[in-house]
């Protein structure tokens, strides 16, 4: 339903909010399925290969990725505090932690870019590259979208779109950001540890 009505009472907003939340959760679940497909492909190819990584391919560096992961998980924590800020009507807390999240997210992307340029394998170079770059690239794309999403909702908040009671856009952005974190846990394990 369109939000053109300005005198919608709270129970009705709650109704709309719960529909949007469920819809957004379903969207995140379907996004998980997409990652699941590529994870299945990776594990299948890895299992079928006589040796892994394939001959001549190096595994990517664990420590760089570990640092990058800490950055990303940290940004999940900062976003959590940001949401606390909006719920307690502390705008400054929200803004500062959201900005911090955006910075940390961008640092993660920078770290990925650094790693990509220092790997000798290429996307089309081997089945390792096929799996690694497709999955981490898809994830990185999601992080990029997440950063854009956060910038947009930050600007909207500064313009006064959200209140402590009505901030579905922020809830969605935060959920999306946590989703990106959860996917990274899986990818970090699958490529750097396993």
């Amino acid at each position: 339903m369109a939000t053109h009505v300005t005198t919608v009472s709270d129970p009705e907003y709650q109704e709309v909010q719960s529909q949007r939340l469920l819809g957004f959760l379903f969207f995140l679940i379907s996004d998980c399925v997409i990652f699941g497909d590529f994870i299945f492909s990776y594990l299948y190819l890895r299992n079928a290969a006589p040796v892994w990584p394939p001959v001549g391919i190096e595994r990517p560096y664990l420590y760089l990725a570990a640092v990058n992961s800490v950055v990303l998980f940290g940004s999940g924590a900062t976003m959590h505090y940001a949401m606390e800020g909006i719920r307690r009507a502390r705008l400054r807390q929200f803004v500062s932690f959201t900005v911090l999240t955006i910075i940390l997210g961008s640092m993660f992307l920078g770290g990925q870019a650094y790693e990509y340029t220092h790997l000798r394998d290429t996307w089309a170079g081997s089945t390792f590259g096929a799996s690694f770059f497709t999955l981490t690239g898809l994830h990185g794309f999601h992080v990029f979208i997440g950063v854009v999403f956060l910038i947009v909702v930050l600007l909207q908040t500064l313009r006064g779109t959200y209140t402590p009671q009505r901030h579905f856009g922020l809830t969605a952005a935060t959920l999306y950001w946590h989703f990106v974190d959860v996917i990274w846990v899986a990818l970090f394990f699958l490529f750097y540890i396993y």
Binding site: V5, L45, T134
Partner: protein
């Protein structure tokens, strides 16, 4: 209060109607208009895909025919399958019927996300253009399943990319529709409508929505994989560099098996609506039908590799998928037996909607039996990739989905348009289509078992007689659709006006005028019990009680 007064009152949630032509008919947010858009667009693709099939049957009238070159023949069956599954079948049962009926049957004014609904629709013509434009570049030739490596090899140019892009787009559309419908059913049912008071079409649409949402996302990923292999050389299916062709089969069928349940479950839902109306008694086994739909939905994710029994699966994999495929036959059988039992001691009216349902039950049962034959791994060794499978899929998809679609069309036509279809033409349509259908597809079981493979433009001359017979029957089958088109045309121009409830049915869509007003319900109904208790008072409060509960035909 009048409607215009209600429009001013926010609590009623009746918004002012769309005012411009664009907002009313082009970029409409109204689920009923979107449904009609789906009907028309998918109907158009049905004609294209059907013509492709008829072209194939002309080529196959005799062995070594030169009506179509091999390449064009291969393009024909590839686009026929692609279009029928993705541009006709799924859009019709979800986008058209789901949109038209489900929100009204749950007593809502629209779906949860009308703007996304509109977006979903508009992705259909875009997808169709992408897929059919591949013909300009030499369309894909490896069937609707496009197995690599061969799908990466035939003279392609842009055609495989266009195919991937087109199917990707319709896949996204389907995922969004699934999400939309599922949120609608979970969150927007009228007060009092518990899950076990929902009409069975809503149950079917809900499970289908869940499948659309989860399985189709997988299709998008699979297509992206094929695309990046084709365009960027990323070695997923490239044997020379460690890739695996069978990987594609796994990721493709993980979606495409649930896809066939997406195609059939709404048809099951239509059957469950039409039967009680035309025998005027409660459906037998409501809970069994409802829960078995959910069971089929979940099981559909666990049977995909029965399409791959000859692809070098491990023995334990063959056993696992064989057993689960046999398991999924049981809830399907339960439904069929329940529907047949509903006819017992009914007051049967053999109108066109019910005739198509009876045709469905007759043909789908045979399709189910041949499905069990395919489930057995050793029996499948003979049947796989032969015309036996072609027969099976058409018995369940044409005999099942298409007959179900026609049943729904005849049933809900008065509700959608406010006019009746001609009953005599409907009967002619049914009988010719039913007989021609069986004459076309029944013989295929035979030649398949004797050794005629799929996807061939020519065949061993020993199969010539049967193929000629099949081709001629198929021409009659195609012609029978013309009867419906004529019927629809005449109904639009001079059809008898239909009231709100010409069939004397009990689900909520029959409680409002025909065609349905843009706001659906003046007042949201309150639901007191299930919808199939013929003989008892209507189970709704807040509904105008002077609606005729008596069939007028």
């Amino acid at each position: 209060m009048s409607i215009s007064e209600l429009e001013q009152h926010p609590a009623s949630h009746i918004h002012p109607p769309p005012d411009t032509f664009i907002k009313k008919y082009v970029f409409s947010l109204d689920h009923k208009v979107i449904a009609v858009q789906y009907f028309v667009t998918a109907g158009l693709f049905l004609v294209f895909a059907g013509l492709l099939a008829e072209l194939m049957r002309v080529q196959l009238m005799g062995p070594n025919n030169h009506v179509l070159s091999t390449a064009v023949f291969d393009e024909a069956y590839s686009l026929h399958g692609t279009a029928m599954v993705w541009l006709v079948g799924i859009p019709l049962v979800t986008g058209a019927f789901g949109n038209l009926i489900m929100p009204v049957q749950i007593g809502a004014r629209d779906v949860a996300f009308p703007w996304l609904n509109m977006l979903s629709f508009w992705m259909l013509p875009v997808a169709g253009i992408l897929v059919f434009s591949s013909l300009l570049f030499g369309a894909p030739q490896a069937g609707w399943t496009e197995y690599p490596p061969v799908s990466l090899q035939l003279p392609l140019g842009a055609s495989l990319s266009l195919w991937c892009a087109g199917v990707f787009v319709i896949g996204v559309s389907s995922t969004i529709t699934g999400l939309n419908f599922l949120v609608t059913i979970i969150k927007m049912r009228a007060p009092g409508m518990t899950y076990t008071r929902m009409p069975l079409f809503v149950w079917a649409t809900g499970v289908t929505a869940f499948l659309s949402m989860i399985a189709t996302a997988n299709l998008s990923a699979a297509l992206a994989g094929l695309f990046i292999q084709h365009v960027f050389g990323v070695p997923l299916y490239d044997v020379g560099r460690g890739g695996a062709p069978v990987l594609w089969q796994h990721v493709f069928w993980f979606y495409s098996h649930p896809a066939v349940y997406i195609l059939i479950l709404p048809a099951f839902g239509i059957v469950s609506e039409v039967i009680p109306t035309f025998v005027r008694r409660p459906i037998f086994g409501y809970k069994a039908i409802a829960y078995s739909s959910a069971a089929i939905g979940l099981l559909s994710f666990m049977v995909w590799a029965h399409h791959m029994f000859t692809s070098g699966l491990q023995h334990w994999e063959q056993l696992f998928f064989m057993i689960l495929t046999m398991v999924i036959a049981v809830p399907t059988g339960i439904k069929i037996f329940s529907w047949v039992t509903t006819l017992w001691r009914g007051k049967v009216r053999l109108d066109s909607p019910l005739l198509f349902v009876l045709g469905f039950l007759s043909t789908f049962t045979l399709g189910g039996i041949t499905g069990v034959m395919l489930a057995s791994v050793p029996a499948d060794a003979q049947e796989h990739a032969s015309y036996f499978v072609v027969a099976h899929i058409h018995y369940v998809l044409f005999g099942g989905t298409i007959f179900g679609i026609f049943a729904g069309l005849y049933y809900w036509w008065p509700k959608m348009t406010g006019r009746m279809l001609d009953e005599r033409l409907g009967k002619w349509h049914f009988w010719i289509m039913y007989l021609a259908f069986n004459l076309t597809f029944l013989p295929m079981h035979w030649v398949g078992l004797l050794g005629m493979p799929r996807r061939v433009a020519t065949y061993d001359p020993v199969f010539a007689g049967t193929n000629m017979f099949v081709s001629i029957s198929s021409f009659v089958l195609a012609a029978s659709i013309l009867i419906f088109i004529i019927n629809a045309w005449r109904s639009a121009r001079q059809g008898e006006p239909a009231g709100p409830n010409p069939w004397g049915a009990r689900t909520l869509e029959w409680m409002i005028p025909s065609p349905m007003p843009y706001y659906n319900f003046r007042d949201i109904p309150i639901v007191l019990s299930g919808p199939y208790d013929y003989g008892k008072p209507l189970p709704y409060a807040n509904i105008s009680q002077d609606l005729a509960m008596v069939p007028v035909h």
